[in-house]
Structure formats: structure tokens, C-alpha cells
């Protein structure tokens, strides 16, 4: 055999080997992924579509893995309708705290529309009042029951999960117009030895404020759930009127407080 003939024979052998290898890769492959530590077979994720699971069982598992990779880029969670539910709530924490010494209360009824289980416009209407005679001070502050209104929206960070559990962050705009009076003011001048009691009555003011609120909502049973909110608020306007600066603002709390806490019992209507 000449040298050239040997080269041709080697080349032919090489081509045949490559052809055989190519034929092997087009065959159906079965690769069952297992966890090495436990030898447990790994199954597709819970959100993987039924078609992909079927392919996992009967088809090409290598191709399936590629499909799963592509599938993981797509949204596989449940998509909720635009009008998911409507929650009617009662914020009742302040009357409870009054039993433990708090000197003011705000109670409101709120309605929250859950859209796509993600965006939640909300409206609250309530009443607030106060009565306070601080220790070692010379006055009694009384805020007559006055209305307030809050409007805003929440964003539910657990939009991929069931609406039974929600972690939200929200914005609110609040407004109240209210009346109050300061009574039993005692004035004592030790040098002139004068003493007098007087009142500042008929005071009226209004307030506009903004809130950032973080909340947690948990279904208790059936359509009933409980919500907890912590709120940071900032006063936009609350003018000094007449002879005083309001100490308590319905729906806001005390004028100088930066934080508020709310606890809400909710009834949810599926839409």
C-alpha cells in the first residue's frame, strides 16, 4: 500500500467515526437528574406547566432541561384578575389602647380594592377624638369627635402568592377638619400672687398630611383577616388658628408624632 493510499484509508476511517458519533447524538437520551447526597430524583418545579412535566416523563430529558431553562425566564405564577377582591376593614387599635392609658383615638372604616393581587387603591373614612390632662401641666385638651379621610394605594410584594397573605407598602393622603378646646387652664403668678382659671374654646383647624405605610395582612378564617400597619407620616399643612396650635389631629395622631400603628379586621369579598 502506497503512502497516499494509507492516508486516504485513515481519512475514511475518521469520517466514519464522526458519522457514527453524530448518529448517537440524534437518538433519544434519558438522563435522570438525582441529588448526589440523597440519590433522590429531582422533579420539575411546582410552577412548571403540565406539557413540560409530560415531556420530562416521556421525552428527551436533555431537551427538557433546556426547555426548563427557557421556561424559567417566563412568568409561571398565577395571574390574578384585574378585580381580584374587595376588603372592607375596621381599624380598631386606638380604642383598645385608650383602655391602657392612651388619651386619643381614631377609628376608621376602609375599603381596599385588590387589583391583579398587586395594586390596591384604598379609601378610609373615620372619626377621631381626644381628651387629655397631662400630669404636671395646667390644662385639659379636648378634641371633639371629628371626621377624617384618607386615600391612597398599596403595592403587594407577595403578588405571586395567594391573596390570603400580603406584605404591602403604601402611600396615603389624609385630610381632617376638626374642632377642639383647651379648658381648666390654671394661671399662677407667684410674684404678684395672682391665680386665675380660664379656657380657650371654639378652636377650629384643618390638616393635610402624607403617609408611607408598611403592612402585613393574614387570613384568619374564611373571608376574615387581620392586618397590621406601621405608618410614618408627615404634616403638609396644619395652620395655627386663633390662640392655639392643635395637639391632636383626627386620623394623624398627636401633632409631633412621626409614627402611628394600626390594626385592622377585614372582611374580603371575592370579585
Amino acid at each position: 500500500m502506497t503512502r497516499a493510499a494509507r492516508h486516504i484509508a485513515l481519512l475514511a476511517l475518521l469520517l466514519l467515526s464522526l458519522a457514527a458519533a453524530a448518529q448517537d447524538t440524534t437518538a433519544t437520551r434519558r438522563v435522570t437528574p438525582v441529588r448526589p447526597s440523597t440519590n433522590v430524583t429531582l422533579r420539575p418545579g411546582k410552577d412548571v406547566s403540565a406539557e413540560v412535566v409530560e415531556q420530562y416523563i416521556t421525552g428527551d430529558s436533555i431537551k427538557l432541561l433546556e426547555e426548563q431553562r427557557r421556561d424559567s425566564l417566563r412568568r409561571t405564577y398565577t395571574r390574578y384578575p384585574r378585580l381580584t377582591d374587595l376588603a372592607i376593614g375596621l381599624n380598631f387599635i386606638d380604642p383598645l389602647l385608650m383602655a391602657f392609658g392612651q388619651k386619643y383615638a381614631s377609628v376608621d372604616v376602609n375599603a381596599t380594592l385588590n387589583m391583579w393581587n398587586r395594586l390596591q387603591p384604598t379609601l378610609a373614612i373615620g372619626i377621631g377624638w381626644a381628651r387629655n390632662r397631662p400630669d404636671d401641666m395646667n390644662f385639659t385638651y379636648r378634641a371633639k369627635p371629628s371626621p377624617y379621610l384618607k386615600i391612597g394605594a398599596n403595592y403587594n410584594f407577595l403578588f405571586k402568592s395567594k391573596p390570603d397573605y400580603q406584605v404591602t407598602l403604601g402611600l396615603r393622603l389624609g385630610y381632617s377638619t376638626f374642632g377642639y378646646e383647651i379648658t381648666y387652664i390654671t394661671h399662677t403668678n407667684s410674684y404678684w400672687r395672682e391665680s386665675e382659671t380660664y379656657s380657650i374654646t371654639g378652636q377650629r383647624s384643618h390638616a393635610l398630611w402624607g403617609e408611607v405605610t408598611a403592612g402585613l395582612k393574614v387570613r384568619i378564617t374564611g373571608p376574615f383577616s387581620l392586618g397590621w400597619n406601621i405608618t410614618w407620616h408627615h404634616m403638609f399643612t396644619c395652620p395655627l388658628t386663633g390662640n392655639s396650635r392643635p395637639w391632636y389631629i383626627p386620623g394623624y395622631g398627636t401633632r409631633d408624632s412621626a409614627l402611628a400603628f394600626a390594626m385592622t379586621a377585614c372582611y374580603t369579598l371575592k370579585l
Binding site: N132, P134, M137, N138, F139, Y141, F157, V167, L169, I182, I185, H187, N189, Y191, W192, R193, E194, E196, Y198, I200, Q203, V212, A214, W232, H234, N243, S244, R245, W247, T254, R255, D256, A258, L259
Partner: protein, 157 residues
């Protein structure tokens, strides 16, 4: 969930920066702070000795009796519209007269309620004092720690 922690951190920072609004950092009542000044140069000065007493005060009680004083509080009567004080500089004395309107005011829960006084007229005799002036632009005596009256002395007085 990570954005939540970022937002909560911002909230916490905002809350801590918003704290500290409470508390009464001013006086618990509205008292005019009077300050001795040198006429012409308008600079603060001390006077010694000085004795101050309210005219008509119970038992002729003395408000201030000290060797040296540059400023002092003068409590005003809330039940009438005028208060007079006698200021003695050794053997010589002057009388200052303050006319005002008491205004009930609720400041806040920490400082409480008190009378503010809108000064309408201030006057003095001129034995040692040269003149008296209202030091606040709105003529209002509040619980803020600031001079409300200037008592001017002549340069060689």
C-alpha cells in the same frame, strides 16, 4: 423582597430625623426679658448695684436685688393691662410702665397654656435710664427665650 428592606431603611432614617419635635425648649410662661443697653452704641451692658420691685406688689416684695445684672425677667400681671416696676440704681431710681393686652395661648402639650402679652406702650422716667424700647418686631411677649425690652442707659450713666 429586597426592595422592602431598602425602603424600610429609608423610612427608619426619616423617622429618626423627624424625632425630637416634642419637648418644651422655651419658657413655661411668657415673661418679658429686659436687657440693659448703652444708648448710642446699642451694646449690652451690666449695671451694679440694681434693685427691682413691682409697684403694688404684695408686701412690697423685691424681685431682684443684686450687685450686677445685665438682663432680667419682669413678670406681668395677667388680670390687669398695666404693670409698673421701680428700678433702683443705688440711691437713684426710675419707674418703668408697661401697658399690654394679655392673650390666652395654648403653645403645645409640653409647654402648656399661658398668657402671651401684646405690648402697646412702654415708658420710663429718665433719672438714670435714657429710654426704653420694645425689642421684638411684633410687640408680642411670648415664652421664647429672647429679649423683649431694651433699657437704654446714657454712656456716662
Amino acid at each position: 423582597m429586597r426592595p422592602i428592606w431598602g425602603i424600610l431603611a429609608i423610612l427608619l432614617a426619616a423617622v429618626t430625623s423627624a424625632c425630637g419635635d416634642g419637648g418644651c425648649y422655651d419658657n413655661g410662661s411668657a415673661l418679658p426679658l429686659a436687657q440693659f443697653r448703652i444708648s448710642g452704641t446699642n451694646t449690652k451692658t451690666s449695671v451694679s448695684p440694681v434693685t427691682i420691685m413691682g409697684i403694688g406688689a404684695p408686701n412690697d416684695s423685691v424681685l431682684i436685688d443684686t450687685t450686677s445684672k445685665s438682663e432680667f425677667y419682669l413678670p406681668l400681671r395677667a388680670t390687669v393691662n398695666e404693670t409698673r416696676y421701680r428700678i433702683s440704681f443705688g440711691d437713684i431710681a426710675d419707674t418703668i410702665t408697661l401697658r399690654y393686652t394679655p392673650i390666652p395661648r395654648f403653645v403645645n402639650a409640653e409647654c402648656g397654656a399661658m398668657y402671651f402679652f401684646r405690648l402697646q406702650h412702654v415708658g420710663t422716667t429718665t433719672n438714670v435710664l435714657d429710654s426704653i424700647a420694645i425689642a421684638v418686631s411684633d410687640s408680642m411677649v411670648t415664652n421664647a427665650v429672647r429679649p423683649s425690652l431694651y433699657l437704654y442707659l446714657t454712656k456716662n450713666g
